[in-house]
Subunit: 390 residues, 2 copies
């Protein structure tokens, strides 16, 4: 088990009516002028935005709004948000949305007090030292950005999708009412479930030994998602299923499942190339990439794959051939993804095989020039994984 530092000072307010506490929570943290950042019109149409702004009004908090965040949030809107926030003297950002809105808000929060280009933090040119406070009204159980230190933005100039992981990125609070996710279409619900499962799996595939407790926490979150996702898809207003998914999205990515171990993260980086080029939903991209990555890596540590298969997918252990059990687990995972309506082949995402070498070459590497940590990959490996998913 590796040494770790764990600091998660986000205040989570979970349950019915949580969104009505936005004003009070910002006041408590000294915010005086708020930028309410959101995506499309669904937050307005559903009445959510009215409830949120009413709570700001009740707290006597002036605010401005900036909508238009798209999935795979773009740098252009971040630049606009930074300018707007500076011009209006904003000192607190309230994200009303899912991972894209939250990440866009985090990037604005990093950019406002910084003299240079906020992208410096995403291409490794600089490390953030300050940030405005960010609060969240969560509308989508998926990315876990409401409790995480990560932030992923797509630079349109060049199509680079890059992340900036920093403790400054952890939101001050997250207001999580499962009811606001009732209106999510089945496809988005499934993408969210796939994303959170991937966040856990990236951490699960480690070479670190002596991590039994976090292994079991990972398995607990995966099992709960596998049970709740089909229910939430079949009965969109099932409170309990929506609640399990919403809290699972936070636990999957607030790092509680990854403490003391080095995760892999290759599948995320490969998917970032897919979604930067084809603008597919992150969850859908992961549904294609992750099982392919697993098949490619099975022989690196068959017992770890078998453990997952037995404990999470309920497979019988084949003690003579653990790799067969491991493979059965991968197959069950893929069947599960199909059953909730996810694509599992690149063809379904309309990916042109001719693009594979370029995508494989572009994936962001670690310091050793390789991709991932479980069994690090080179460009040839990445291309093989992508071809295997065609």
């Amino acid at each position: 088990m590796l040494n770790f530092n764990y600091y998660s000072p986000t205040e989570f307010v979970f349950g019915r009516g949580a969104e009505e506490r936005a004003g009070e929570m910002i006041r408590k943290r000294g915010g005086t002028k708020v930028l309410v950042h959101f995506g499309g019109g669904s937050a307005i149409r559903s009445g959510l935005m009215d409830r949120v702004t009413a709570s700001l009004d009740a707290a006597g908090l002036p605010y401005i709004t900036l909508g238009g965040v798209q999935p795979n949030p773009r740098s252009s809107l971040v630049y606009r948000g930074i300018e707007l926030a500076r011009a209006e003297g904003v000192d607190f950002i309230l994200a009303v949305g899912g991972g894209s809105v939250i990440d866009s808000s985090k990037a604005i929060a990093l950019g406002v007090p910084y003299d240079g280009d906020f992208w410096d933090f995403f291409c490794g040119k600089a490390k953030p030292e300050r940030a405005l406070g960010v609060g969240v009204v969560l509308t989508l159980a998926a990315a876990g950005s409401e409790g995480s230190k990560s932030c992923v933005i797509t630079q349109e100039d060049g199509g680079f999708k890059r992340g900036c992981g920093n403790e400054l990125n952890r939101p001050k609070f997250a207001l999580m009412n499962p009811e606001v996710t009732y209106t999510l279409p089945a496809y988005q619900t499934a993408c969210g479930a796939t994303d959170m499962m991937a966040h856990v799996l990236e951490r699960y595939f480690t070479n670190e030994k002596g991590v039994d407790l976090t292994d079991r926490l990972c398995e607990a979150v995966l099992s709960a998602v596998i049970k709740a996702a089909p229910v939430a898809i079949a009965e969109p207003d099932n409170y309990e299923a929506r609640a399990q998914l919403m809290w699972a999205s936070t636990l999957a990515h607030n790092d509680s499942c990854g403490l003391g171990r080095e995760g892999d993260w290759a599948s995320h980086q490969i998917e970032h190339e897919l979604s930067a080029r084809y603008d597919v939903a992150h969850g859908a991209g992961l549904a294609v990439v992750f099982p392919a990555w697993m098949r490619y890596q099975l022989d690196h540590d068959p017992m770890r794959f078998a453990q997952l298969a037995v404990r999470v997918w309920g497979c019988d252990m084949d003690f003579e051939h653990p790799e067969k059990t491991g493979l059965e687990g991968i197959e069950r995972y893929e069947q599960f993804l199909k059953s909730i309506g996810m694509p599992t082949r690149l063809g379904e995402l309309h990916v042109d095989p001719a693009d594979i070498p370029a995508m494989a070459g572009k994936c962001k590497r670690n310091n050793a020039g390789k991709l991932g940590f479980f069994r690090p990959l080179d460009t040839g490996d990445i291309a093989k994984i992508l071809y295997s998913a065609m």
Copy 2:
């Protein structure tokens, strides 16, 4: 699933050498004069106290020390600590120890800025509004006080053992080096494991439905403790086993396993009467009380007991007679406790059966005048449970 609010702003520094960061961590939080609070001489003999005070010296932090905390920490030392801290202008308390030292430190931290008697917070006469900061160098994996909002003190005048749960009690940081627990005797290691299992089980036995995710988190922590405890007892310097136990102690009681549900807590209250009267180790008392409580409550919800038996104890599900599976789980739990050297009968704790009615009558009740929430108990029930454990 109930609404919940979860805020755990403790910074956890976990791993080898963590204790050497005490000075830096207090500085970061603005502390200028420290009371180092500890128990017996083991922290001094092992060299731990030297490493901790060296780190305070290196950070230029003046400090005073106050040792002598006993298991089931006493109000008399809390009063002394409050006086001392006031006289010396202390603004930060550093607890070097386990749950008793941490709770004593928390009580001092509550008492220093309060005009009245700190016991007001423990007998329900007042609610704390301020507290000094508390940091922890953990030496014992058990009570989980390093991450919890709880604090339990024994008032010697009357033998009352009472708790004060408040968000102000959460430590600012916890430095957790599994190596410092290598010297713990097997009995204390086992008491610690029993205590953390009890913290999870108190939350597990709930009437709340739709809590699949937190059920599974509970099961994950229990399973990890069941695996690690015998290893740590057989090989006291097994880093990985000590590390699982240390982190499990935090997760068992920082409330992550209890979100969205109402726990029971009757067994803890019954045990408090035992340890207030006989001064037995908290874990040993729980090892006797909890299985007896479970047998008494089995028929209230046999399926919940069966779920625990199957998922945690690996029992075969008896689909015709789930209560038999539930009972088998209780028996396995008891066997496990015996196997790690815990008592499971009141006789082993030298309890006089003539004391049972008085202890049963003295247990702290909830607002409805009953004890616990799973199936609330009256005095007669509590006495029956205690007699069944003789």
